[in-house]
């Protein structure tokens, strides 16, 4: 930045974060934030809280569809490879059975369905989450390490259309958190 001779001392804002004492307070705050119209936000807790992802408006992802398509690709690959080998390229009489002995092809077809499906699920989850990602602005948040022990956090991000430093801070304060602080990008 300094190469351009332009000095901006105020760091960019990633968002505003509120810390809560209990999972119920966090869930409640998330629900109110969604009701108030906030959409770009995330919640952080030491363990999964049932209903929390729904509360912040978490939508069904494409992972299941990608997994299905990958699984079908696996099935087609498994069956196709055996078809090419056993029927087209190297037909061989085994115990008088037909070349296209589909029951014998099933184990491999099944295995490749699972293999491709698992790869599809794992890799699409990685890609859609933007992983791998060595650092994240949320780690700049105050006391954020407690999100893995006893802290419950709700962060409304600056990207949200409705984000306004003062109004959003006032909104979060109204949810009776332990503390509201700014997260620098």
């Amino acid at each position: 930045m300094s190469d351009h001779g332009h000095h901006d001392d105020t760091p960019k804002t990633y968002g505003l974060i509120a810390e809560f004492d209990t999972p119920d307070e966090l869930l409640h705050a998330a629900e109110s934030a969604y009701k108030a119209g906030y959409r770009t936000m995330d919640a952080y807790s030491p363990f999964p809280i049932h209903g929390l992802s729904e509360a912040i408006g978490f939508k069904k992802t494409a992972v299941s569809l990608i997994t299905l398509l990958a699984g079908l690709t696996g099935a087609a690959t498994g069956f196709g490879m055996q078809y090419i080998a056993m029927v087209l390229h190297y037909p061989y009489d085994i115990g008088g059975k037909p070349f296209l002995s589909w029951p014998s092809f099933m184990p491999i077809t099944f295995e490749l369905t699972i293999l491709f499906g698992a790869f599809g699920a794992f890799l699409s989850m990685f890609a859609l989450n933007g992983l791998p990602r060595p650092n994240h602005p949320i780690f700049n948040a105050k006391r954020f390490e407690r999100a893995s022990s006893d802290g419950f956090f709700l962060c409304i991000e600056a990207e949200d259309g409705q984000f306004d430093m003062d109004k959003t801070r006032a909104f979060l304060e109204a949810q009776k958190p332990v503390e509201v602080s700014e997260v620098h990008a």
Partner: protein
């Protein structure tokens, strides 16, 4: 203990069950006598087994008995599975499966009336027919296992094992309700492991005696696993149905969340896949080996209408339920899941038909529509009696364990944060 709505549902269902029992068993008897008298098979030199009135009566009753037996013994297995692994899904249905397990004596008595006479007085088990055993040397070799005395003794041993564990677990559960003595929980946990091992061993043996030996030349080591997975499908789907009718009132209402259905739906999915895995691998191995003593089982199940039934089972016992149960939305709504559970429960009839009836001489190579009809009426009839007894047992105790601290813990763990 139970609310008025729950009680009225139970008594309404019981009177319906009584009707099914009388009508089903009556129709079965009348149609079986007519079918046996006019459309029976006389033994010939090639095919030494007779199919007369006796056989026609006992065939459908045996299949129906085998169908419902699982509701007793597999309920017991789910009780023990619950104590072995725990989990919120089994906690909500624990009292259903406990009540189910208390119906094992019903099967013990009806089996003495249905299964043992079938061994001693009919040609249904080919290994009891001297001419048949003479014809197939391999059956003579199995005589130590397949003879009426061994069958009878084994019958009593299987039921001793099942009734022993039924008595233990239901006794402990009752005492835990009354005394809140948590040493009982330790016992329940400890015996669940050995109990399940004995369950799997005894059901494998029992499946061999009761069902596999209908085709005595043939053998398959995975047959017990087929019956165990089938019974698990029946018990889980039946529990979903009962849960859906009783969950709107205390004490179940407070403990049921969409997660509960999701878990039960996942179990249905798992056992649907396991059932098809077991059924298909049995076919694959035998088809590949193509040995004369094994392949007969599948040859008897080949032919116009039976081939259609085979394809139907692949499509509608495996593929369709699996695809429906893969979709999460279908598992989180009890209305949808109940429909699926009814479907899974009743499609089991066709699978059981497919696995037993084509072994009878008049069931080879094509669907025997009379026997299929009789199997359905016998299942409805015997099922009427069973459902009646099951509901009698169910209303004797609170619908959830009273003093089991694990239940509350499992529920909290599973539904934590749920407002």
């Amino acid at each position: 203990m139970l609310s008025d709505t729950q009680m009225s549902w139970i008594s309404k269902t019981q009177s319906k069950a009584r009707m099914y029992a009388v009508a089903g068993l009556l129709v079965t008897l009348v149609v079986a006598i007519i079918a046996g008298a006019f459309f029976g098979l006389a033994p010939t030199d090639d095919q030494p087994l007779a199919v007369g009135v006796k056989e026609k009566i006992f065939q459908p009753l045996m299949v129906a008995w085998l169908f419902w037996l699982g509701m007793g013994i597999c309920s017991l297995a789910v009780v023990m599975l619950h104590h072995l692994c725990g989990g919120a899904w089994s906690y909500t249905i624990q009292r259903f499966v406990e009540a189910g397990s208390r119906t094992i004596p019903f099967f013990f008595i009806t089996g003495i009336v249905i299964m043992l006479p079938a061994v001693y007085f009919t040609d249904i088990y080919p290994w009891t027919n001297e001419a048949y055993v003479h014809q197939y040397h391999i059956v003579a070799e199995k005589a130590a296992f397949l003879n009426p005395s061994t069958y009878t003794i084994a019958y009593f041993i299987y039921f001793t094992i099942w009734m022993l564990f039924m008595w233990l677990y239901n006794g402990w559960s009752k005492r835990l309700d009354e005394t809140a003595d948590d040493r009982i929980i330790g016992k329940m946990k400890f015996w669940a492991g050995p109990g399940l091992v004995l369950y799997v061993l005894s059901v494998t043996m029992a499946a061999t005696h009761f069902a596999m030996s209908l085709e005595p030349v043939w053998f398959s080591t995975i047959y017990g696993a087929w019956l165990i997975s089938s019974y698990a499908l029946s018990v889980v789907s039946f529990s979903v149905i009962v849960l859906s009718y009783l969950m709107n009132e205390s004490p179940i209402k407070e403990k049921v969340t969409t997660r509960t259905f999701h878990h039960l739906g996942n179990f249905l999915l798992g056992f649907t896949i396991f059932w098809s895995y077991v059924s298909f691998s049995q076919f694959l191995l035998i088809w590949n080996a193509n040995l004369p003593e094994e392949i007969g089982f599948y040859l008897h199940r080949e032919g116009s209408s039976l081939t259609v039934m085979t394809v139907f089972l692949c499509a509608f016992h495996w593929f369709v339920p699996m695809m429906i149960l893969l979709i999460r939305k279908n598992k989180t709504s009890i209305v949808t899941l109940r429909k699926i559970a009814y479907y899974v429960f009743f499609v089991r009839i066709l699978d059981l038909y497919w696995n037993t009836v084509p072994s009878f001489p008049d069931g080879h190579y094509a669907v025997n529509w009379t026997t299929l009809f009789l199997v359905i009426t016998a299942i409805l009839g015997l099922g009427g009696v069973w459902v009646f007894l099951f509901l009698n047992e169910l209303k004797k105790r609170p619908l959830l364990p009273v003093n089991d601290p694990r239940g509350e813990l499992m529920f909290l763990k599973d539904a934590h944060g749920h407002a």
